[in-house]
Every structure is written in structure tokens, then in C-alpha cells.
């Protein structure tokens, strides 16, 4: 037996620090390889840190809420194993696989099978199987659980364990069961888990429940009753994780970019018809076809004609970079705050491809399994405040991009047609642009083009 110091690995593509959200072990805990030790939240995602060894936990490197630099001490084990911990990698929350172990003098060379195989029968009820891991998408993506390792790494059934009534509740509240951590035995998801997940944003963001009137970046359904908690004293909590990241980015944008914003309304009759016509064909592939792929198409076509809006300005170098790719960021509300996964090279993708990719990116963002790579290299962003019932809003540009388009909810409005009031579906939109780079006449031209595509989506075919 010897002590092994396990340091916080590079949990997410080069990020520098992570906050301890939850400990799954305590000093004295016996752990097996790949058992989850802690959950660490970075700027981008919550990552489960698995144990690199079988052994006993001697000390923890911090309390819940502590922010640890990459490479800081996380756990000290007592173990008779020796592993080389990869301190800088790109593979996510991985420790070195057994094959990378340096030869150990005390270890007979015959013992080449992975330690997991030496465990007592993997599924004996006494084994502290991290069932939640087995159920989580992260586990499916890679990190094997102890039983999976003993099984030769075979994948496990994807169905989340939950009763029919709980499934129904999840469906009704719009909760993706696969994203919920089950608190029941063996990771079973309970109705309370679903309710807690649905109500999570207020708690996760600040630890304080907001009153119904406060805008809180909640993913709850509009009109859904919110729990109101009367508090006697102020409570201050640290600004951490994703919220901190969003806060920094928005501050930079507001301080450095002189925003100009224009608001318009578009007759969406043809857009609604286009979606209705395309929907059954595209949904035959099993992907929900929303308006968003059409909006992306319209934006991409507009950017092609107005390259200033697909550019970045660098004041230090005094340069303007016109981007060759049109990578469209999609502002996505998640339980923890706004995330912006990026559809790369959106101009080269069909509506079907866009639908599928948007669906996958949004799911990954909500599950917080989206990678940094999937959220980088954006050249223009779309935000959709309509999903919260909004009409018009002022989108904030994501530096170093030059502009952002926001879309409201399509709703029936009375509009004049040939002097006669007519009810038409209308789409409100607002575009913010960097006034250092873009002038009012650029803005007007950009909006005219965008509106032309939205009002008559068949024009999108002209560039095909």
C-alpha cells in the first residue's frame, strides 16, 4: 500500500479551472476504478471525475464550492496500484488506461488483465456501483463503469429506469429523462427528481429562488407556477461556473462593443407554409423540423451577401477579419444558463442536416455534454427569445463576432394588405451589430435581405 496523489485532470479541452460541485466519496471511502469521485463544473459543463485506481480515499483536496486549478490536488488515495495520470489531455475526464501503466516492480508480469476484472463479482448487490453513471450519457460516451469493464466493456441498455407515471410527468414538463440524475435505488428516476430538474435553473444559478416576476433564465414553461420562497435574510453566493462565464462575456460585449439594434416585423405567411410543406418530408427521418433550420438558412444566405456581418474586428491589431466560414451559434437555454453551440459551415448543409445537427447540439447543451469544440469558432449568432414568449428584445453580441440576430414568436397580427386589415402570422426580429464595423446603411441593407428571405423562403433556392 502506498499513497497516491490524484490531481485534477484537464477536464475539458484546455480550460484552466473547475469548481467542485459535489463529492461522491469521503475520507475512508473504498473506491473502485472508474467510480465517480466528484462532479466538477467548468466554464462549459459539469464533468464527473472517475477514480483512476482501486483503493481507499485518505484526503480530499477541497470542499464543495472550491475552485481548483487544473493539476491541483483532488484526492489522496491509499492504494497498491500505481498509475500515470495524464495531466493535459484532450480526451475529457480520462485517466490513463491500464495499458499506459508503467511497469511496476512488485507486480508480477502475469497480472496483465485490467484490475476491474479482479473485482468481486461486479454486480453483487454490495458493490457501490455508480448506477447514475451507467445511466448518464457521459458513461455511454466513454468512461466505463466497473461492471461494464468486467463485462468486457459492452454497452448497457439506454432506457432510463422510471415508472410510467414519472415518464408521463417528464413528458408533460418537457424534461428529457436521460438528462436527469436518478436519486432512487440503482439510479431510478423518481417523480421528485423530474420536478427538481424542471425547477432547477433558479436553484442552480443562485441558490435563491426568484419570485415569479424576476427574469431568471429559466427553462420552465411559460406560465408554469414558480415556487416562491420568502427569505428573511440576504444570501450571497459565489459567481461560478457557467454563470461566471456568461457574466464575463456579456460584460466584455457591453463595455467594448458599441451596439446598434434594429427591430422589424416580417409577414411570415410563406415561412409558415414552407415549414408545413417541408415538415412531413423532413420528419420522416425522425427529427423534429422547427422553424430554426429555416431561420439559419435565411441568415446564412444573408451573410453571404453582407460579409461585414460575418466578420471580427481587432482594435489592438487594427484589422478586420472577414470570415470564410459561416458558423452559426445557437443561443440555447439550459438549466445552468445560456450556452451557444455552433453549427459549423452552415452554408453547406441541407435543411435535413441542419435539423438533425441543431437537435443534437441543443440536446448536448441541455445535457451539458456539449464540448468546447462544439461551442467555438462561431462567426454569427442566432438567439430565439420567442421561446420564452418574447416579442422583441435587444440581443447582445458575442465577442468577437460582429452581429447577432434575435427572433421573437410567430403570432397572428393585424396587418394592412392593400389598405385592408388582414390577420397574418408575423415574425418579429431584432438584429444587433457592432457599430465600429457596421453603419446604419449596412444594417438597413442586411435587414432588407434577411426579411426578403424570410418573407419568401423560396428565394433561398436561388443560391442552391
Amino acid at each position: 500500500m502506498s499513497e497516491l496523489e490524484f490531481r485534477l485532470p484537464d477536464v475539458g479541452e484546455g480550460l484552466d479551472a473547475g469548481e467542485i460541485v459535489e463529492w461522491h466519496v469521503q475520507p475512508g471511502s473504498t473506491v473502485v476504478r472508474d467510480q465517480v469521485l466528484a462532479e466538477v463544473e467548468t466554464d462549459k459543463a459539469v464533468v464527473e471525475i472517475p477514480s483512476p485506481v482501486n483503493g481507499t480515499v485518505l484526503r480530499l483536496g477541497g470542499e464543495v464550492g472550491d475552485v481548483l486549478e487544473i493539476g491541483a490536488l483532488l484526492v489522496v488515495f491509499e492504494t497498491d496500484e500505481s498509475v500515470k495520470i495524464r495531466s493535459h489531455g484532450t480526451g475529457g475526464p480520462a485517466t490513463s488506461p491500464a495499458a499506459e501503466q508503467p511497469p511496476i516492480a512488485e507486480q508480477p508480469p502475469a497480472e496483465e488483465q485490467p484490475p476491474a476484472a479482479e473485482q468481486p463479482p461486479a454486480a453483487a448487490p454490495a458493490l457501490p456501483t455508480p448506477a447514475a453513471v451507467a445511466q448518464s450519457p457521459e458513461a455511454a460516451a466513454g468512461a466505463p463503469s466497473p461492471t461494464a469493464a468486467a463485462d468486457g466493456g459492452r454497452s448497457r441498455i439506454g432506457r432510463v429506469l422510471a415508472s410510467p407515471a414519472t415518464r408521463r410527468l417528464a413528458l408533460e414538463t418537457g424534461v428529457d429523462l436521460t438528462a436527469v440524475r436518478g436519486s432512487g435505488p440503482g439510479g431510478r428516476v423518481t417523480a421528485d427528481d423530474v420536478r427538481a430538474f424542471a425547477a432547477a435553473p433558479a436553484v442552480a444559478d443562485t441558490g435563491v429562488d426568484e419570485t415569479a416576476g424576476a427574469a431568471g433564465g429559466s427553462s420552465a414553461e411559460p406560465g408554469e407556477p414558480r415556487r416562491v420562497v420568502r427569505r428573511l435574510a440576504d444570501e450571497t453566493v459565489p459567481l461560478r461556473g457557467l454563470r461566471r462565464s456568461i457574466a464575463k462575456s456579456m460584460t466584455t460585449s457591453w463595455q467594448q462593443i458599441p451596439h446598434i439594434t434594429e427591430f422589424r416585423e416580417v409577414d411570415a405567411t410563406a415561412l409558415v407554409r414552407a415549414r408545413a410543406s417541408l415538415r412531413p418530408h423532413l420528419e420522416a427521418d425522425g427529427v423534429a423540423f422547427t422553424f430554426l433550420p429555416l431561420l439559419v438558412k435565411a441568415v446564412v444566405a444573408t451573410l453571404a451577401e453582407h460579409p461585414k456581418f460575418n466578420a471580427s474586428i481587432d482594435m489592438a491589431a487594427e484589422t478586420i477579419t472577414y470570415h470564410g466560414r459561416r458558423n452559426i451559434g445557437l443561443a440555447t437555454a439550459t438549466a445552468a444558463g445560456l450556452m451557444v453551440p455552433v453549427v459549423k459551415d452552415a452554408d453547406g448543409k441541407s435543411l435535413g442536416e441542419l435539423s438533425r445537427e441543431i437537435d443534437q447540439l441543443a440536446s448536448a447543451a441541455r445535457d451539458r455534454t456539449v464540448s468546447s469544440a462544439q461551442m467555438s469558432e462561431g462567426t454569427f449568432t442566432i438567439t430565439n427569445f420567442g421561446s420564452f414568449g418574447g416579442w422583441l428584445a435587444t440581443p447582445i453580441i458575442r465577442p468577437p463576432e460582429a452581429a447577432i440576430a434575435g427572433f421573437g414568436r410567430i403570432r397572428d397580427s393585424v396587418v394592412p394588405v392593400d389598405g385592408v386589415p388582414v390577420v397574418r402570422p408575423t415574425l418579429p426580429l431584432s438584429v444587433s451589430a457592432d457599430h465600429r464595423l457596421i453603419d446604419g446603411d449596412d444594417m438597413g441593407a442586411f435587414l432588407a435581405t434577411l426579411i426578403a428571405y424570410l418573407a419568401d423562403p423560396i428565394l433561398l433556392l436561388k443560391g442552391e
Binding site: 454486480a123 448487490p125 461492471t147 441498455i157 439510479g187 431510478r188
Partner: protein
């Protein structure tokens, strides 16, 4: 529609009044929709195949056959019963009364819910519209629907070259309507319908031969579950010809061929039960841009929608062609069409064969569970361990649990034995609730009953040494 035709506006149109269709109609009406339920037979067709010529009539026959057969079967226990005879004409009257009572009950429900029932064949003419043609000479009704739910069910497949004539060559509907008992029958098809009919007629004294083209009965059902049934068929004197294709039926002789040669079986009648085909061909689906697959099935999502405003359920969609599946789907589809969030997402759809003994399965077989990468434990307890089964003199069969050990959840339950059809419901609940074997053991079961087997098999699983499984040898 041509000039002069006046279309009627229909809020929600349900096509087919079987167990899926009428359930959907009732649910939608409860949710405030105005519903028109159309069926080929109109009010007389309410309940569909299941109620009229399928589940209910066949179980009536099976029940009578079982009682007749068992009446003399407890001689060892000191019971003596005189000659047992079954008057099929009286049986048909009795059955018709039962079916009539149930049909009337459903019709009453529909009436009280305000669902209009109409007779006729519905055919789409274009999206949002269709025509309802009744069998009589009345002019067709032109319907413009807001939403439509298709639940048109399935019909028996005929044997190529030997079409049904209703006299010698029967389908399952004809067989259940027989006014006299044939002395001998050939049942073509060893699926669940063929097996159920063959067993029932054998118990009523008919000489039965089952001919199946495949090399096993009940394809898709775990072979181990079939063993007690095979033994029982043998005891009943039912001949089973596997791997044989029926070629002809002339002068009271059925000829069937196999690689090994030709077999000739004398039979008064032949019942063809080789499968069912979804009724999607006469609906004019092309007019609304829907194309069934080669098997005639419609593709639907978890919400049972085949296209905007068009839902499809039951035998015309993928999955087992079972009434309870259609019923469950009907609820979902109706709710979705009414704007609610709902999905058809069962962990288990139970399947029952009313053979002797009954076979009932829910969830995954051990092989299926292993194929899904689960860490599988299997436990099986023979019915000979049941005190209640001993008092029934029916100890052939077993109860089997399949458990995913990694999450300690029951994922499969298989029961062979008397009343397996009733007992399986606990298994379905266990799977849906993700119950663990301990949950089953700790739920006290009444004694002495067959239901105890479920907790007993859970006990046998829990009290094994960790990591052990009941070996497959127990299957034989």
C-alpha cells in the same frame, strides 16, 4: 370532390371501431372533441375483430373446451363426471349473447360520450378530406376532417392457391362460428392463433393436426417456454408437422410437403391461420402522401402520428398485433391529437398465448437482455414447486425472471402454466416500475396461489450466491 357535393365538417374522424379506435374515440370525446367513429359494419362493428371474431369469441371457445376436457380429468381425485358433450349450436348462441352484451356495453359508452358512429368504408380523397361509402346504395358522405385517426386493423392472410371458401377452407373467424364440431381438422400455421384453435378443438374431441412451414411452433417465443405446451399437445393427441408446406386439399385429404417428402392428412376442414395483414390498402393513403411499407404497415413516431393531423395505431403500425397494444396506442394518439403531450413508450407489451398451459411473456428474454449488453441474471422456478398448482393437478410450467443486475431491475417475466395470462400483469407492472427482485419478494403474495411463484422465483434469485445465475440447464 366535384361540384354539387357538399362536404360535412368533422372535427376528429376515427376510422375503425376496434379496441384501439373506440378507446381513442372515447378519450378524445372526454377531452372535448366532436368525434365521428366510422367502421365498415357501423354500430355492429364496434369492438372490431377482438370483440366480434377474435379475442373474446376464441376465449369463449377455449373456456368451454377446457371445462369439457377437465370435467373428466380429475378421476384420480375421486371425481367422476358422466359423458360430456358440447352442442356447438347452443355454444354459438351463448357466445353471441356474450359478444352482444359486450358490444352493447361499448356502444352505450360511445353514445353517452356523444361519439357518432357511422357505417361505411372510408377512403382519402386528398389531405383533409375523404369519402365514406356504406354497403347499401346510399350516396357516399364526403367528410372534411380536422384530424383523423386510423385504426383499421388487420385481416387473415389466405393460403396461396387455397382461398377461403368458408366451408372447407376456413379462416379463424369461420372456425369460431362453426355450428357443428368437425371430426378432423388441419390447422395451417403454428402461431398463437393456430395453436389456440388447435388446442381448443382437440379438447372438444376433434382430431387435430397442426402444420407449420417453419421448423418450430410459435416463432419468436423462447423455445423453453414451448416445451410444456408441446408435451400437452402430445397428450391431447394433436399431431404437429413442422417444416411442412400445405400444397393442396382435395377429397378430404390435405397434402403437405417437406424436404423429407410428402405427407397426406385426412381432414374434414382446414383452418388457415398463417398470419394477418394490415388493412391499409383500401384507404387511399397515396392521396395524402403516405406510403405503407412492404408489409402494409405505417411508420409513426412515439406520438403515433403518421403525418400532420393523421395518427395511426394498432395492427397497421409496427409491433405486435395485439388488442391491448392498440388500446394503449389509442389513448396516446387521441391525447396527441387533442394537443396534449403523450408518447407510446412502454417498457413491456405483454403477449399471451391461450394454449395449454398458457404462455405469457413480458419484457426481454434472457438472450434479448444479453444482446442489449445487460448484466443478466435469470431465475426460473418450476410449477411443481407450487402448492396451488399441485391442488389443480397442473404442474407443467414455470415462472422465469430476467434481471439486469447492474441496475437491479426486473426486465423480463415469462410464465408458462394455468392462468399465466392473468399472472403476467404483475410482471408487466414490475418491469414498468423498474422493480427489483427484492421489491417482488418483499411484496407479500397471497397463499396458496399461483401468484406466489413470482415472489418465490425472486427469492431464489436473491438467495443465490452473488454472481451466480440459474443455468440454462434448468430450461430443459
Amino acid at each position: 370532390m366535384v361540384v354539387g357535393e357538399v362536404a360535412e365538417g368533422v372535427d376528429l374522424l376515427v376510422v375503425g371501431a376496434g379496441p384501439g379506435g373506440y378507446t381513442a374515440a372515447l378519450r378524445a370525446a372526454a377531452l372535448g372533441r366532436s368525434v365521428l367513429l366510422v367502421d365498415r359494419l357501423g354500430d355492429a362493428g364496434v369492438g372490431g375483430v377482438c370483440l366480434q371474431v377474435g379475442c373474446i369469441p376464441s376465449k369463449a371457445l377455449i373456456e368451454v373446451a377446457e371445462v369439457a376436457h377437465r370435467a373428466g380429468g380429475l378421476g384420480d381425485a375421486g371425481l367422476t363426471v358422466g359423458d360430456v358433450s358440447v352442442d356447438m349450436a347452443r355454444f354459438q348462441e351463448w357466445k353471441a349473447a356474450k359478444v352482444g352484451g359486450l358490444t352493447g356495453g361499448v356502444s352505450g359508452l360511445l353514445r353517452r360520450a356523444g361519439v357518432e358512429v357511422a357505417a361505411g368504408e372510408f377512403r382519402f380523397t386528398r389531405p383533409g378530406s375523404g369519402v365514406l361509402q356504406s354497403a347499401d346504395d346510399r350516396p357516399p358522405r364526403h367528410l372534411q376532417y380536422t384530424d383523423v385517426l386510423l385504426s383499421t386493423g388487420s385481416r387473415p392472410v389466405e393460403l396461396p392457391g387455397l382461398p377461403r371458401d368458408g366451408e372447407r377452407v376456413l379462416d379463424s373467424t369461420d372456425a369460431l362460428a362453426l355450428q357443428t364440431l368437425p371430426r378432423s381438422i388441419v390447422v395451417v400455421g403454428g402461431g398463437y392463433i393456430g395453436l389456440e384453435l388447435g388446442t381448443a378443438f382437440a379438447k372438444l374431441g376433434t382430431r387435430v393436426t397442426i402444420i407449420e412451414a417453419l421448423d418450430r411452433l410459435l416463432p419468436g417465443v423462447d423455445a423453453a417456454l414451448l416445451r410444456p405446451v408441446r408435451q400437452r399437445l402430445k397428450a391431447l393427441g394433436v399431431d404437429v408437422l413442422l417444416g411442412h408446406r400445405v400444397e393442396g386439399f382435395e377429397d378430404g385429404v390435405v397434402t403437405a410437403t417437406a424436404a423429407s417428402g410428402e405427407k397426406r392428412v385426412s381432414a374434414e376442414k382446414m383452418i388457415v391461420a398463417i398470419g394477418r395483414r394490415p388493412n391499409t390498402d383500401g384507404l387511399g393513403l397515396k392521396k395524402i402522401g403516405i406510403t405503407p411499407d412492404v408489409g402494409g404497415l405505417l411508420a409513426v413516431g412515439p406520438d403515433r402520428m403518421a403525418a400532420p393531423h393523421v395518427a395511426a395505431i394498432g395492427d397497421i403500425t409496427a409491433g405486435p398485433a395485439l388488442a391491448h397494444k392498440a388500446t394503449a396506442e389509442g389513448e396516446v394518439a387521441a391525447e396527441v391529437l387533442c394537443g396534449k403531450r403523450a408518447a407510446f413508450d412502454p417498457a413491456a407489451i405483454p403477449a399471451v398465448v391461450f394454449s395449454d398451459p398458457e404462455i405469457a411473456v413480458a419484457g426481454l428474454s434472457p438472450e434479448e437482455a444479453r444482446a442489449q449488453g445487460m448484466d443478466v441474471a435469470v431465475a426460473r422456478l418450476p410449477l411443481s414447486a407450487s402448492g396451488r398448482a399441485a391442488t389443480m393437478d397442473a404442474t407443467e410450467g414455470f415462472t422465469q425472471l430476467v434481471v439486469d443486475r447492474s441496475v437491479d431491475a426486473v426486465v423480463g417475466v415469462h410464465i408458462v402454466g394455468p392462468h399465466a395470462s392473468e399472472l403476467i400483469a404483475e410482471g408487466v407492472l414490475a418491469i414498468e416500475m423498474a422493480a427489483s427482485p427484492l421489491d417482488l419478494l418483499a411484496s407479500i403474495h397471497p397463499h396458496p396461489t399461483l401468484s406466489e411463484m413470482t415472489s418465490d422465483v425472486a427469492r431464489s434469485l436473491l438467495h443465490q450466491p452473488a454472481g451466480a445465475t440459474v443455468p440454462a440447464a434448468a430450461a430443459s
